[in-house]
Symmetry: C2
Subunit: 364 residues, 2 copies
């Protein structure tokens, strides 16, 4: 990668791709595009980078059938659209791309559904090595919020904004922009960041002043975190050396939330280096907490049990810690929400639970 | 209502309620609580206030059965919790209240599920005339965002924050706090506000500079709007005289979003005066737009058709405009998303669609 303007870099990668198809044609070959196979059995742990990446198995999209040829035609039209978008320094959503294809002159190039255009953009990310954000494709929903002793500068279309994520924001916190790579970190007193699943718990921590007392940056995940949220956690960890901790409900779906922060998702293993923070640690709610603190629980449903069993087979969860916790949860047949800590009083989480756990983990 | 501290007011209303039960006991009566019946057939239009409110039909919760007595016991425990919370100037979520009940000394007073505690808090809102926000009950998820030429002062637990909703925020905008009554409006150049359903369209308007060009305050609804979002729209309209416009997808679920901004919901008709903005106008997507602009569409599903037919019978939608639009939609059997406007190009919405519609509506 050159050190030019990132718009120019991304644009060149796209045009290189189109040029490859051209060369294949010119050389008398049937054009094709080769991609890693995106299944659970084809992800493996990269020891050096500490993240999960695709293995060696590949699939090929070839123009040797009408269906395959149409796919490559759509890719070419999309590349042209993205290259123009970058040249004009504009952006669009995945959904807009899908609708916009209706205006393309070749009907064969139009998408038949949004799944198709979404998948194509992911394919282009993988083969070009450029992220969707650098194509200027915005997600539908924005990232979540930050609250803590961090000062940053955001480059907006309307100029630079310098914002302190406690002093310059309301109780709602600082809204993470769609592309957090427009942010420069200026200064901070953050000892660790705590990524919190639910809004209710995020508000509890802020109301109780946990961010002030412990120099903690509270990151609201809003359930399954958006790419922007995972990206800013990654950058804060790697660039500023801030330890990352994840605090969710105690059920298999929440462990997946932790997994997507720490290891990335199977669907987007090509982005692990960009989005995943493998050093992120899991605070709780742990099945052992359900036992130790006698938390109010719900019984596991059939789909909970299936999800836990599938996690036991997932290479990302094959560690001593997770195998023990998941086995314990299957044994006790219970799950608990993070707000269940309120059964011990509204201050229990900030006065007792988190300080004890973070001390035990060596964070404070 | 007195002009004291709102915490004291809300606390007194709650204690008055408890005193009423006490007096009923003391007078040898079986204690009871009377509430308006909360069904579609018991809401009616209040000409004077311009909102939909409950009619005259009532239901009674009486202690003349074990089940009824237990309900009133839970109400008393909840009143005590809320009164203490207000005295200490703290707050909590509905979910925390549910879990916290596990720590109450009387097992009969503990909630058996969150539906029960949610419903009880709504009952208390209705009989006391105090809103949940003034009980300091926070919603699970926070409100949405604002972007536009508005300067405000938010009273936070950490002191006052003065924020300009264009100059002091990133591209994500200003995050509306859980209780927007902590906000004071300082100054504005807003000609109208546009409440937008989807994040993709909100970002499109901001990227295209629509808020700057038209002095528009862009309010992101994030689907079905949170109470905080509806409340701030109401306050901006009533206190600052800013016209309110709603811009959603063109399907029955989106008309309900408009309905909840303009008329309030059936479940919370007791809050209409606090949350509803009956003067709010509907911009689109209108079924007539689908025809006029030849937008990409999806066919109506069975549940869409049922929802449209149910809207035709809903007193809130019995106007000439809505009857015509809903009938047209049933005839053409199609729906369209707001981002479908991208099929005419990414600037069509800000260069053509909105200016034409807003001009026609007399807004610009």
């Amino acid at each position: 990668m050159s050190t030019q303007d990132p718009n120019t870099d991304a644009r060149e990668e796209l045009i290189d791709l189109a040029a490859e198809f051209y060369d294949q044609f010119a050389g008398g070959q049937i054009p094709e595009m080769t991609l890693p196979t995106r299944t659970k059995s084809n992800i493996e742990y990269d020891e050096e980078k500490g993240v999960w990446v695709y293995g060696d198995r590949t699939s090929t999209r070839s123009a040797n059938s009408v269906r395959g040829a149409r796919k490559l035609l759509k890719a070419i039209y999309t590349i042209e659209f993205l290259a123009n978008q970058l040249e004009e320094d504009r952006s669009s959503t995945l959904r807009e791309l899908y609708y916009l294809s209706e205006s393309w002159d070749n009907e064969e190039a139009q998408f038949s559904g949004q799944d198709e255009s979404n998948q194509l953009v992911e394919d282009l990310e993988i083969v070009s090595g450029v992220t969707r954000e650098d194509f200027h494709m915005r997600p539908e929903e924005s990232g979540a919020t930050l609250m803590g002793p961090l000062e940053l500068r955001e480059q907006t279309r309307r100029g630079e904004r310098e914002i302190h994520c406690q002093k310059d924001v309301g109780e709602g916190g600082y809204q993470i922009p769609n592309n957090p790579d427009t942010i420069e970190f200026l200064d901070h007193d953050v000892d660790f960041m705590l990524a919190v699943e639910t809004g209710g718990m995020r508000d509890r921590l802020v109301e109780n002043g946990f961010d002030e007392e412990y120099n903690c940056l509270v990151v609201h995940l809003k359930g399954q975190p958006a790419r922007a949220t995972r990206r800013i956690i990654k950058r804060l960890h790697d660039e500023q050396g801030i330890p990352a901790l994840v605090f969710t409900d105690g059920d298999p779906w929440s462990y997946r939330i932790y997994g997507s922060v720490a290891y990335g998702s199977i669907k987007s293993a090509h982005l692990s280096e960009y989005l995943a923070t493998p050093e992120a640690d899991y605070v709780g709610i742990r099945p052992e907490d359900i036992v130790e603190y006698d938390l109010p629980t719900d019984p596991l449903s059939d789909s909970d049990v299936n999800a836990l069993e599938s996690e036991l087979e997932d290479p990302r969860f094959q560690t001593e810690f997770w195998e023990e916790q998941i086995q314990l949860q299957l044994d006790i047949d219970k799950k608990a929400e993070q707000q269940a800590l309120a059964s011990r009083g509204l201050d229990f989480v900030t006065d007792t639970y988190l300080p004890e756990r973070l001390d035990e983990m060596g964070v404070i």
